[in-house]
Structure formats: structure tokens, C-alpha cells
Assembly symmetry: C3
Homo-oligomer: 344 residues x 3
């Protein structure tokens, strides 16, 4: 994700955010970001404005207070010393080609991806891991980890129960965004910043990381790692794995073309072109040697899987008698079942 | 699932349902359906009656208002124009051999399966996918997707947090039914319409789709796809996959007999008889060629796995030196650990 | 887990618990257990004291009432006949080398593991499965299964929704404990009694059972079965499986050393030493025959995988042309990405 490849666009969004113990935002929700032209953006400058108290969201005071790009000293700048846990409304203006400058800026970038205002790799996310604070996502709202046990004690004292569904830097997408035309059977498995094309179904075993996802209709019962993009009309079977770049040391960004099928419990370590199938249970790593066969089954050559990166219309199997991984022309490109893919 | 094979039975149930924007039910809960005889059912006719407001559930008004099978125009027929989101009590009478005629009818069918009043494949579910509405399942109850963001804004304005745990046509089973004698470690992975036999444990990696499930004691740490049935005393290891018929183009309904073990990360593309084991990590697709060995390890013949469909007492492995998939007599049929299978 | 190997230590903890229909505790929360010396512990004796009503937690009455080790007849002993569902405060004193004697005792043991006061296998858990009651974990708190439907009806009558996230003997850890310095993307997949070392990240596909876990920094995207321990700086890839001892009949306790990598969708049936890698998609069962190669790729010998138990610095692959499982010196020991492993 080099910045040079990322188009410069500007987005502004009103939102609501929670202030943490340090006096800066620890999370923010932006329901309707809008793109603004470069001239306007550059005259205003990127950054965050605190536009009023939450209960006055529609009547912002006469002089919204600007805070700087770093967003570190909101408490000081807002003068009144907004208390921790206080939720206030804010306005955020960002440059997609620049690195995120504050927590709220980072949250807005993730919203752009999940709201389909940008595709994976079109927003600069440099430094996200250290910027996004660790939070506990609870039935009483997000809370900083060092405050959790006091909150649990309070809640339990009232005879209620505190549920904590995630302890993470990245929240579940549906805590903020549910894009139209998708199904997500178990929302715990889709992070904010995932890009779900219209017509995408994420089944219970599916998973989509941030800055990754689908571009159109898709059946996702496997795992889409950070950075991985899946083309239209493709199907990731249950438990199918795509190698990511965050861990494991792989440098090549994996992608899946259109009308591809990754069989159940299969895995993918190379980018696939269109119309490819990986047999159920086969993990195709980049370093694996693959026998390339013609349509009649005759051996053409043996290559590393990495050399087949991006090739179209191939069927990958492990020969069930010889144990060799083989690639051959794919005779049977999948059709997604239209009945289960209308997500209206 | 051809209708011809489905026995005609009639069930009636009182329940509670939520009305959507279109004025018809978007979901319904039926805690105690009862079977009724054919004569009674046919004199009454199948359909839905709105029996009163929720707060008068036990004192239905003198003239319950009938709505038609299509259930589409509840608002008109109930005269008073029940408001969206209004929850009212209803009575539903259905014929299991006929296709579902309304949302509430479809929900009642799924309840029958999860309450063990019918087994998988014993209730006609034709057209379910288009009938069941997409809903967001939230901490504030089920809501139609186009109303979600307004609800989130409301809830967040009150200083509370809206959790959305599923965006789907099929709800989690435990939002409606928890049958006796089961454990379900992570309820997000069992859909309403799943059939869990008494003594079934679904671990965190287990999954059971609707119209599928177990018939008795079972340890489920793998995935039971739609239509798949698992016999008593069988064990699906962590991440084990069973091929479904909804996607992937497989026509044969997969099933697992009694006392079978699917090893962790294995997969199954053929029906298994009783007493079979599939080695951990082996995906047995129907098209795979399999070496059939005798008890001494001598090769008897080589067949397609599909030809072994339904055979009892076979052990399937991939030979770790030759890479060939092999079937041989299964010497060691599993015993489930009784201590962890008493779900009382 | 033989008692003889478990060091005798004593812990005392104040907590809060819920009383069930039988008049004894069905669950208990202990935020801050403390170790006590043997002399004190033995003069007091192990057991449970009910120290007061919840609303008087900080002002225990003059005569805390002792209950016996079995904890079965709390109702009788507390005299006043505490009502079901009543939450009261308690004090519990246990001996880690003795078998758990009551539900609250069992809960305290699981807290010790998750709070890092004891490591896996350092607390006697004999008889846990039959001791821990089945509960439904709901948005209205834990409830015994036979009370669930009445509760659901009540909640739904109020226009609210009851969420049931687990039906199990063991609760999700984060309902009780969130240790410092960890990330847990989907908390439904970590049981109370899991031991997460500081710097551990459990991704969405990760899972950790009780009496199992990590000892330091680790990336867990696979499944850590009961009893399995993973050393520092190791990485379990997405969907990776470790064989447990509760089911499957395996007698050897699996463990993973330091700086190991289990590739995505791989599996492990033997203990690994330090610096080992199992290739993505390879399930290494104990019975598999493995070709052991030298650094140049020459075959040294063929052995059962079980004979390689505990060996350091090995790379396990399945040869993609011959289908044979092979072990060779591991040239490329992993480094965890430090940016994503700072969980502060």
C-alpha cells in the first residue's frame, strides 16, 4: 500500500464520537460522508471540528472549534474540558492519499470502504495499527480496557449483565455500517473497513478483514484476509483461506478474479484470474510445484504455482492417486445460485 | 426436497410477531406448536389469524380476524391499520406438505424443525429464500434494513449502543428456540430450522444450517450444511466440512451415519454409512479416485469415491507417503466421551 | 491431568454469584483473587462463605455464614432462604491441588487461569464437566435452561429482545475476565479458563478452550484445544487445528514451542519443539509416516510423526509432486509483525 498509488480525494463527514481518558476521540461514527472538491478541501484544510454537544447536533453553536490534525489535545482546545465518555458531534475532513492523522480520521477512512465510497487499496491506511486504540466493545458501548472492570462491577450491581463482544483495535463493521444488498450471517466476522459489494453474502464461516472484500455478487463462506479482493460472481467455500500480507511474510497481494470457486477448506497463496476453481481441501501455496496438464490430461510442464498467478480458467486439484498438485483447463465454471443471492 | 416425499401433517401454533412496513409479519415466534388432525385442519383451512393485541394475548377478542394464505395484506384486513413495528399475537395453521404461504408460516416450519416436531426433509420449504425477508437482528429487536440507520441514530442519541448480530433471512435459532439437552457454545452458528438431537453439543467451530442437523447424541465441531443429517453418536471434528446442495452444484444429499468420525479439517462429498472415519485433513470429494484396500493393506480395486456412498465401517485416509486416497476396513470405531456428552 | 503433578496453592477471592433453583450458586465472578499462605488456608479451611447481600457488599454483616465444601445446600444454611436468581456476595477459599468442590470453586479455578495466576495444567479440574451447570448466557444474565422460555416471554412482552449467546457449561471468558495486553476479535471463541499471555492476539477464526492457551506474544487464528499450550512468538494460522484430548482418543498432550508457525488450515497431532513450521493445509497426525530429509533434500529415514514429537527447527510439508509428507531443517523461522502485536 504505497501512498503513490492512492488517488487523492477529499471527504467530509459529520459524525458522533466518544471521548476517552486522554481527552481525544476513541471512536467515531459517520453515517453519510460526502466527497468534496479539492479547492474547497484545501481552503478549509483537513482536520476535525467539534461542532457542538450531541443534544445540539442540529443546532451547532456559532463558532465551531477547530482542533488540529493530530487530534491529541481536544480537551485543551475545547476549553470547557469535555469529560471522558462524553459523546459529542464532530466534523471531519480528510485527504485519502495522506496518512490518517487522528483516530476519528482513521474511523472515517474505514467508513469510506464499508460504505463503498472507496475500494480496497484506494485509501491510505499507513500507521493504522498504532493509531487505532484498543477498545472493549460492550453492551454499554465502547470502553477503554482499563475502565472495563469498573464498568462491569457497576452494571452487575444494577442486576444487569455486561456483554463484551470484541477486544480489538478494529470494531465489527455492523456496529457502524450495514451497506445495502448484503447478508452477513454472523456480524462478528466482518471488520469495519471491509468492502462488501452489492449482492454479497457472508455466511457464518465467512470473514472479511478491513481494506479487503468483494466487488459485486459473491458467496463468502471462507476468509478474505487484509488486502485481498474478490471479483464478481465468485464463491469462497466454507473454511477457504486466502493468504494475507499482515502476517506470514507473503509479499504478493492475493486476489480472486470473477466466477472463481475456492472449494471448502481450500486455500490460496497466489492471485487467481477469472473462471478458476481450486478443489475442496487443496491449499495452493505460491511455492508449490504444479503439474500443468492439457485438456486431455497430458503433462505439459511443471511450474511453481507462483508462475500461474493471474492465469484464467484453470482448475487446480491434487491428484487423488499420485498426490501431485495439478492445473488443467477448467471445464465447469460456476454459476451462483440466483435464488440465494438476491439480497433485497 | 420434492413435495411428493413429504408427509402431510398439520400444525397449529399461537405466537407473537412483528409487523413490517408493508403491514405483514416480518418474523414470528411460536413457543409451543401442536399437531392437529387432518379433519380439523381442513375444516378450518390453513392460514393466519390475528388474535388480538399482545397485551391481550390470553383474552383474544370475540372475533379473531382471519388473513389469507398469502398474508400480504394484513394491514387492510385488520382494518385498524396496525402500525409498523407493532407486535401482535397470531395463530397460524399450516400443512407441512404444502409450500409455505407467508412469512409467519415459514417461521412456524423452522420452529417445527428446531423443536424436534419434524426432522430435516419432513417439512416442505419450497421458495423459502425468496419468502423470508432480510432483517437486521439487533439488541433493539429485528428491524428491516432500510430502517436500521434511523434506529442506530436514535439509540446512540440516548447514550446507548446498538448491536447488530446478524443481517440475514434466517435468524439464529436461539433467538427463538433452545431445545432441551443441547449445548451450543456460540449460538451465532446455528440457524433457526436446525434440528439438534438430544445430547448434541455444538462447539465454537460447529455450524448447523436450517433443514439439517443431528438425530441424537453428537459432537459437532464442524459444519453441517443445509440438508445434511448426522446420525447418533457421531463426531464432526473441528473445521470438518460437509458439502451442501445450495451452492457448489452437488446433487447428492450428503449424510453421515452412526458412530462416524470426521477428523478435524476433513471434508465430505459423499454420504457415509455407519462406523466410518475420515482422517483429519482429508477432503473426500465424490469425484476423487480411491484405492480400496483389504484388512492386510492389499489393493482390491480403485473406484470413484461416489461408488462408496453409504458403505459402512470404512476408514478413509490419504497415504502419507504415496499421497493416494485409500479406504480400508475401520478397526477403531469411535466412542464419544460420555462425560462431556451429558447435556442435562 | 493427574493431581500428583499439580502444585498445592491456596487462593481466596471475594465475588458475586447467582443462586439457582436448587439454592446453590450457578455461576460466580471473582475480579481479584489473592494467593494465601498454607497456614492461613488450613486454619480457615477451604469452602465458601456468603458474606452478605449484594447491596451490602462493602458492609458484610457481623457473622458471615459458612457453607460446606459441597456447596449443595446454601439455601438451608443461609437460613433466610435466598430466592432463586438472587445475586449475593461470597468469599471462596480453594486448594488448587484438590478437585473442585462446588460450582463457585470451579469458577474461581477458571478465573485463576484467565487472570494468569496459574498456567494451564497447574490447577486441578477433575470432574469439572459434571460440576459446571448448563446455563443460557443471555442479555438478561445467565439463566438455567428450564427457565429460558419464561424469561423470553417476559422480555418480549416488554417490547424488548432476548439475546442468547451461549448454551454451555463454560462461559465466554470476557463475560468475566479480560486480561491486560490482549486482543480478542470475537470473544465468543475464548472460554473462561483460557490462558492468554500478554501480547496475545486472537483473531476472528482463533479459538482457545479452558486449561489451554499461550504463554506470551502470539498470533492465534487457529484453534487451541483443551490442554494445549503455545509458546512465545508463535503463530497459529487461520483455521489451524490442534488435536485435543477430550475427544478423538488422543492420549498425548499437544503443545507448540516458541517461534513456531502452523500454516492456515494446517493441523497438529504431535507436540512441536521450537522454531517449527507446518505448511499451510498439511494435517500432521501422529500416525502419519514422514520422510525426514537433510538440508540438501536427501532422504535420511522414514519415521512415524510421533517419533518427531518435540523436535526443534523442522519444516513439515507435503511434497506437491509426490504427495509424501516430509520434514526438513527449517531455514525460515518466523518473526511476528511487531506493529500488529503491541496490544497496549
Amino acid at each position: 500500500m504505497s501512498r503513490g498509488d492512492i488517488p487523492q480525494r477529499f471527504f467530509a463527514a459529520r459524525g458522533r464520537g466518544t471521548l476517552g481518558q486522554g481527552g481525544s476521540f476513541i471512536e467515531a461514527w459517520f453515517p453519510q460522508p460526502v466527497e468534496v472538491d479539492a479547492e474547497t478541501a484545501q481552503s478549509e484544510g483537513t482536520g476535525t471540528w467539534v461542532t457542538g454537544r450531541l443534544d445540539r447536533l442540529d443546532r451547532p453553536g456559532p463558532s465551531p472549534r477547530r482542533i488540529d490534525d493530530a487530534g491529541r489535545d481536544l480537551r485543551e482546545r475545547t476549553g470547557a474540558g469535555l469529560p471522558e465518555g462524553f459523546e459529542c458531534s464532530l466534523l471531519c475532513l480528510i485527504d485519502t492519499a495522506a496518512a490518517p492523522a487522528s483516530v476519528e480520521d482513521a474511523y472515517l477512512r474505514l467508513h469510506l470502504l464499508s460504505l463503498r465510497l472507496a475500494r480496497p487499496h484506494e485509501v491510505c491506511l499507513d500507521g493504522m495499527f498504532t493509531l487505532m486504540p484498543m477498545l472493549c466493545w460492550t453492551s454499554a458501548g465502547p470502553v477503554e480496557p482499563n475502565r472495563l472492570e469498573a464498568l462491569r462491577s457497576q452494571v452487575r450491581s444494577r442486576g444487569e449483565w455486561l456483554r463484551v463482544w470484541s477486544v480489538d483495535r478494529f470494531p465489527p463493521m455492523t456496529d457502524y455500517v450495514v451497506p445495502p444488498g448484503v447478508r452477513i450471517a454472523d456480524t462478528a466476522r466482518v471488520r469495519l473497513g471491509a468492502h462488501l459489494g452489492e449482492g454479497t453474502t457472508v455466511m457464518h464461516e465467512g470473514f472479511i478483514n478491513f481494506n479487503a472484500g468483494t466487488l459485486g455478487t459473491a458467496m463468502i463462506e471462507g476468509r478474505i484476509s487484509a488486502g485481498v479482493v474478490v471479483g464478481e460472481d465468485s464463491d469462497l467455500g466454507g473454511g477457504a483461506s486466502t493468504m494475507g500480507t499482515l502476517s506470514g511474510g507473503n509479499d504478493v497481494v492475493i486476489s480472486v478474479g470473477r466466477r472463481c470457486l475456492l472449494g471448502a477448506n481450500s486455500g490460496l497463496g497466489i492471485p487467481l484470474g477469472d473462471g478458476c476453481t481450486v478443489e475442496a481441501g487443496l491449499y495452493l501455496t505460491a511455492a508449490a510445484k504444479v503439474e500443468v496438464l492439457d485438456d486431455s490430461g497430458a503433462l505439459l510442464r511443471t511450474v511453481k504455482a507462483a508462475e500461474l498467478a493471474g492465469a484464467d480458467n484453470l482448475l487446480y486439484i491434487r491428484n487423488s492417486l499420485t498426490g501431485a498438485i495439478q492445473a488443467r483447463p477448467n471445464r465447469r465454471v460456476i454459476d451462483l445460485n440466483p435464488e440465494i443471492h438476491i439480497n433485497e
